[in-house]
């Protein structure tokens, strides 16, 4: 084995990095080929590597679409089964909090896009970290509002289960189903936000260590894709949960 190995790889596999041009640190080998230190050996170049990462993330996001899709399908079936109950239940949700949170998430998508752009254009570590930090702050605001909303549901005995107060509703069975779906869907969404905050904590640390620039910013790009996906889920959750019963008590 060692003979065959020596034939293809003369010398040690990894020699100390050498400088080429003025383009920052490069990664050299004794057989003469030199490349970016972040380039894995099974890719031709940085562009191909970045494309593969982005594509891989999209494949993951497709599985996420189907993951949330199961809950959206359940929503579709039960709403078709008891439309009046869903309207009655939806009318009770606070349109103010829901709308505010929608705006907060859209704003956080903007700041995330600007964080990716800051890495793409090799802006300073401070600028990159600032955009990431603002995005994280907005994520926390969203979760805080969600906490307030959940607290109200527990207080008013709207949470499905043994303490659900059926007496206040015209269609208690359907309303309970609506709120089961509400907690599953917004809960899974909130879990994704919490995971996103964890990813962005790591991202902020790496950005602070000047890890990202125009040549290599894949982690920022991929984390951005995740964050925008979570925003898209909410873009659908907001109208489907908060807005379907607005004219229920009036007409």
């Amino acid at each position: 084995m060692s003979d065959a190995h020596a034939e293809h790889y003369p010398g040690p596999l990894h020699s100390p990095p050498v400088k080429i041009g003025g383009e920052g640190p490069a990664h050299g080998h004794e057989d003469g080929h030199v490349h970016h230190p972040k380039l894995q050996h099974h890719f031709d170049d940085m562009a191909q590597q970045a494309e593969a990462s982005t594509l891989g993330m999209w494949v993951f996001l497709v599985t996420e679409i189907m993951f949330f899709g199961g809950l959206f399908t359940a929503y579709l079936v039960y709403r078709a089964h008891s439309p009046e109950a869903f309207q009655e239940a939806s009318a009770h949700l606070s349109i103010g909090w829901g709308g505010f949170n929608t705006a907060v998430l859209i704003f956080s998508s903007l700041t995330m896009a600007l964080a990716v752009r800051a890495a793409q254009t090799s802006e300073s570590a401070k600028t990159q970290v600032t955009w990431i930090a603002i995005t994280m702050f907005l994520g926390l605001v969203f979760l805080g509002v969600k906490g307030i909303e959940y607290t109200e549901k527990f207080r008013d005995h709207i949470v499905p289960g043994p303490y659900f107060d059926a007496s206040r509703w015209e269609h208690p069975a359907g309303v309970e189903m609506f709120y089961s779906l509400y907690f599953c869907m917004t809960g899974l969404h909130a879990l994704h936000m919490i995971i996103g905050l964890g990813i962005m904590t790591w991202l902020a640390i790496k950005a602070w260590q000047r890890s990202f620039n125009a040549d290599y910013y894949t982690p920022v790009e991929v984390a951005g894709l995740y964050w925008h996906f979570v925003d898209i889920v909410w873009i659908f959750l907001f109208p489907l949960l908060y807005l379907i019963g607005r004219h229920y008590h009036h007409g």
Binding site: M46, A47, Q49, A50, E51, T54, L55, W58, V59, L61, V62, I65, M66, G69, G70, F72, T73, L76, V77, A80, H81, I95, G99, T102, A103, I106, F107, S109, L110, M112, A113, L114, R117, Q120, T121, A214, D215, Y216, Y217, T218, E221, G224, L225, H228, F229, D231, I232, I235, F236, F238, P239, L240, L243, I244, R246, H247, H250, G251
Partner: protein, 100 residues
């Protein structure tokens, strides 16, 4: 990777504004009783908003054909899941003797 497309900041601000307008619009429409058309309007606005995020914030607009294909396949299977489920659910009990 430095060859990747860098979108101007002004484009991102425009998309952000469009998303906020879409949100205001969907809230406004919800208070008008349009019958079944409420759902159509609501979902149309949501789909346009999602499309804006996917194309511009998620850079698919400048992505490869393979990326386009993967993204589209995700929504294709989602639509399949919705439609086949609803074809079953909405036709329950059509045949005599089958459970509703």
């Amino acid at each position: 990777m430095s060859a990747a497309h860098v979108a101007p900041k002004s484009l991102y601000y425009t998309i952000f504004a469009a998303l906020l307008v879409g949100t205001a619009l969907t809230v406004g429409v919800a208070f008008i009783d349009l019958g079944a058309f409420n759902n159509v309007a609501m979902l149309t606005i949501a789909c346009i908003k999602a499309l804006l995020v996917i194309l511009f914030f998620m850079h698919v607009r400048w992505g490869t054909r393979l990326t386009w294909l993967v993204v589209a396949s995700g929504f294709f299977w989602l639509i399949l899941m919705f439609s086949i489920t609803m074809v079953d659910f909405s036709t329950r009990g059509w045949v005599q003797g089958t459970p509703k």
